[in-house]
């Protein structure tokens, strides 16, 4: 029994416990307890990881274990974490925890099934982050993506069938590319015994031939890129999020979209470094377009969820952009941005759900003056907005600045211009965020019904305060996180830079 497997086992137990629960009260209580334990466990993991590093443990992966699973194909259940994975695990448990509280009363039917699928999804995400074997990684990835279809299709709103279908099909398309790429790597890699292997660490000890790399890199990059809302494959995000229920949006935009960036980092770039360097310019152009395009795209939107979805396209584009700069600083920024955007967007979707639950509309032109009637939620929204536009003191600022400064370390004009273009998105972000805040929260109250709205309940407060606290902790004291990530990035950066 190893420590890391607990992160898959506890959600699994929770799922079974929910399956035998008797009513909504029990269901959500079990979910909250299970995910609370998971949160505590992930914080324990964080501290013990940092303690081990401090004690001088320089192994690439800590808590590593490997079990043979399917010997014929040399598929292993192989797990281990570095600082990046630890950070992502903490992020996931914070968001799932907040998500459970955001669904405290808002699930209208089949609550038991809802929580089962929600936590199953989380299981997949946790599994993905602890995996070191591409096959199990892919397995968990699929486990995380599939429940989404059911969650949106059943518990969603609006054009839910369309949104669910579109999201699932696009992500499945990405999976297909990904699977092809993974198998390609498998057949071109050898472990110490000369067998083909899915093990990431073992593959990384040898360099794959350049033509193999160049052939398979685009499949893996684009495959993960779909999930990371890479332009022009981002359109599942607005429609999917618009119809998804609150907790699903939170989890999906908060964590699942980060699987894309994480996969690009861990599989595409780490295993195929030469191809990554050679083709970087294409994806830098796409990422830059995504950042600017997404930001401008928001201004014209009127639906709160579309607004957040497009701003996510812009912010997630920054992750890809940072990764593509391929130096420690920029990639560090990209990982912080994964966490930061995850927390911020989860906060937004939670708040949007809470506001929608009260006003029954997501059209900002129908609303106004909410600050007066629901001050707590409104203040949270303003905090989220300020964090999202990159105000110092919140995580977004740290992430963005690290990316910009990292990207600017390159001397070539191409990357310099791209960086300045990307940096200009922070002005556009200020425009769209303040516009929404101004219309939604400030000004006179437009609808007389809104006068009677009730402010946040205790479970809503738990949900939002947890997220805001996390955003602020990173924003005020980013050094520990940044150190932890930079150390873990060094093998990846070493492989990327040894190419030239």
């Amino acid at each position: 029994m190893d420590f890391l497997s607990l992160f898959v086992i506890i959600p699994t137990i929770t799922v079974f416990a929910i399956a035998v629960s008797k009513n909504y009260q029990q269901t959500r209580l079990i979910a909250a307890v299970g995910m609370g334990i998971q949160l505590i466990l992930s914080i324990v993991l964080l501290f013990s990881y940092m303690a081990l590093r401090k004690a001088g443990n320089t192994e690439e992966m800590l808590y590593a274990h490997s079990y043979m699973w399917f010997p014929a194909l040399n598929i292993k259940y192989s797990i281990g974490v570095d600082g990046i994975a630890v950070a992502m695990i903490v992020l996931t448990s914070v968001i799932v925890f907040a998500g459970v509280f955001a669904s405290w009363i808002s699930v209208e039917k089949w609550q038991k099934e809802f929580f089962i699928f929600l936590i199953l999804l989380a299981t997949g995400v946790f599994g993905f982050f602890i995996s070191l074997d591409m096959f199990t990684m892919f397995l968990f990835y699929e486990l995380a993506v599939l429940p989404m279809y059911i969650l949106i299709g059943i518990w969603g709103s609006g054009r839910k069938e369309y949104g669910a279908m579109k999201l699932t099909l696009m992500l499945m398309g990405g999976s297909a590319l990904l699977l092809f790429g993974i198998i390609g790597i498998y057949y071109n890699s050898f472990d110490t015994f000369g067998n083909h292997t899915f093990d990431i660490i073992e593959i990384s000890h040898n360099n794959l031939p350049l033509n193999v790399q160049l052939f398979f890199y685009p499949f893996i990059f684009v495959g993960f890129g779909v999930l990371g809302a890479l332009f022009p494959l981002h359109t599942w995000s607005p429609d999917g999020h618009a119809s998804a229920p609150t907790a699903v949006s939170m989890l999906h935009a908060g964590v699942l979209m980060k699987l894309g960036g994480y996969g690009i980092l861990r599989v595409a770039m780490f295993l195929l470094p030469e191809a990554a360097q050679t083709t970087a310019w294409i994806f830098i152009i796409l990422a830059t377009i995504g950042v600017v395009y997404g930001a401008f795209g928001v201004i014209w939107q009127k639906d709160l969820k579309y607004i957040n979805a497009y701003s996510s396209v812009s912010h997630v584009g920054l992750i890809t952009f940072g990764l593509l700069m391929m130096n420690t600083t920029a990639m560090d920024g990209a990982v912080i941005q994964m966490i930061s955007h995850g927390l911020m967007t989860a906060l937004f979707f939670a708040l949007i759900g809470m506001i929608y639950g009260r006003t029954h509309t997501r059209d900002i032109t129908q609303m106004g003056g909410l600050m007066k009637v629901i001050p707590f939620l409104a203040v949270c929204y303003v905090i989220g907005g300020l964090a999202s536009l990159g105000l110092p003191g919140f995580s977004g600022f740290v992430a963005e600045m690290t990316i910009f400064f990292g990207a600017f370390q390159h001397a070539d004009a191409f990357r310099t211009v791209a960086t300045i273009l990307v940096a200009s998105s922070i002005v556009v972000a200020a425009v769209y965020i303040l516009r929404v805040i101004g219309i939604l929260l400030f000004g006179p109250i437009k609808n007389a019904h809104f006068e009677e709205l009730k402010d946040a309940t205790w479970y809503e407060r738990v949900s939002t305060v947890t997220l805001i606290l996390a955003i602020t902790i990173i924003g005020v004291a980013p050094f520990w996180l940044s150190d932890m990530i930079q150390v873990s990035l060094s093998p990846i950066v070493a492989r990327l830079t040894s190419v030239f």
């Binding site: 395009y293 201004i299 600083t329 110092p392 922070i426 101004g438 000004g443």
Partner: protein
Amino acid sequence: MIMNFEYVLLIILLPLLSFLITGLTGMKYKPIWSGIIGTVSLGLSFSLSWFTAIKYFFAYGKIDAQGVLGDTFLKLTPWNINWLQLSPTLHIDMGIMLDPISVMMLVVVTTVSLMAHIYSIGYMKGEDGFVRFFSFLSLFSFSMLGLVVATNLFQMYIFWELVGVSSYLLIGYYYQKPSAVSASKKAFIVTRFADLGFLVGILILSYFTQTFDFKELVSPEGPVLGHPITAMFMGTSVLVWSMILIFMGGAGKSAMFPLHIWLPDAMEGPTPVSALIHAATMVVAGVYLVARLIPVYAIQAPAALEVVGYVGAFSSLFAAIIATTQFDIKRVLAFSTMSQIGYMMVGLGMSGYGGHEGLGYMASMFHLFTHAMFKALLFLAAGAIIHAVHSNVMNEMGGLRKYLPITHITFLIATLTIAGVPGLSAFFSKDEILVAAYHHNKFIYYIQLFVAGLTAFYMFRLYFRVFWNTEPHYHHTPHESPLTMTIPLMFLAFMAIFSGYIPFHDLVTSDGKALETHAEYIVMIPAILVGFIGIGMAWVMYKKETDIPDKISQSLRGIYTTIYHKFYIDEVYMFITHRILFRGISQPIAWFDKHVIDGTLDGMGKTTELVSDRIKGLQSGQLQKYAFVFVTGVIILLLSVLYFAA
């Protein structure tokens, strides 16, 4: 240890503490407590700042680490922590640096902030958001103090953004009023745009120097002054570009043309906010930024410093002209602020580094100090006037000297000061700027001289229209404000009169060494003269109600309207943002995304459906059909095999 300056951290943290306490728990108790907490914490910061200033300037500022007394004020760093390591060489620190200008700014910020706090207890009494107001005021004070003591460019940028957001929150204090909401949005977005320039400037500078640290940046052996950057871009050194971009950030915060459009609108905020943020402290951050980097500007990027000088001169003229036509008293003061900051920028633009060359620098810092005092006074007094007559517009005022004696006297003192009447503080500081301009650039000198006259004119126009002239019918008899409001006025009036006697040339100079100055009558006398001409013209036109102003505006109709509409700069911005950015870029992008990108994907889905629809007929479930197809297939196959075999 008495030489120790570590306690300065408290000056900054006390307002932060007060922000957190009032912000998180302010709703739990009576609102007045938030006012008291805020004021007391600022009061402590204020005392510590003055104590620090005295200690620094008169006792320990020149003593180095070995305990040797030199002739130069040193840059002390009592606190510095590594906040974020970006790369092995580049790191963001958070710390406290004490040098003459930061110590001076500590005094300015805490003094004006304390006055604004005390004043607000009276002014904001009974307001709905009393707690919120004080909480934000503390947040602002914290951010501004963090900005002035910054040890490095990036720390400055961080706090720069934080003062920006405090300003946003306070301008939008009356959030149910649409004009306040749009004003706050405008202020934030315009300064954010300017900050993009600032950020890119920092990016370029740090790429070449690999440091953010002020001490290193301005040290003679440092990466800028010691090893000049030779890289060029478009025929000009990249250093000049980066310094111009950094100045862009400063110009945005300091409301220099063409990034000034937010400042007049920012007057939507409560008046104490205008006094503190939009007159005395935040808007001079741009001046402070340039002053902070003056050795780099003066030695390595003189072209960028020239830009600073011309932008300052143009802005000061531009704003002064507009100020003569405005009727909202707070807007007149806002344009006056812009004009006076232009003066400070001119001072820096006309400055060199070291010795007598640095006269403009000293003058600029001197004017920053005196301006903070008299302009805060003008705003607070204007607040008292607005409080009394419930209007901002000078047409609804007149003859107020009888009703508001203390406000009247203090306002008069401030007006005389800004007009440059000999003996009062701004006379000395403005004079030094003119001297510096006179020796460097005659053209700018004449502009500034003219602006000095205009300043006297528009300020006395305001004064006469409000306190003399014809008395309108008041619904309620105006009454003098409570003591909480008049005490700050009196204190600031005292400062406005006497702060000119602080020996700035000994204390705050470009290189930290004392500077010899002497009166130059060739500059002083014309300056006094234009001041009195301005006052005289205002006297003739506005002391009693006359038809001269109307006649002038009638005869110059086109020009007058243009000026009254602030040269239509706002309309230009509206065109750019709404027509070009929103309708021209954003709307097409939204369309493109929905119809082209998404359309393609949906098209793929539709095509698949269509194809399957067409071929699904084959699987009909009818046995006869299957049998028919099967038999036909076998026959075709058989025939083709026979054919190919033969």
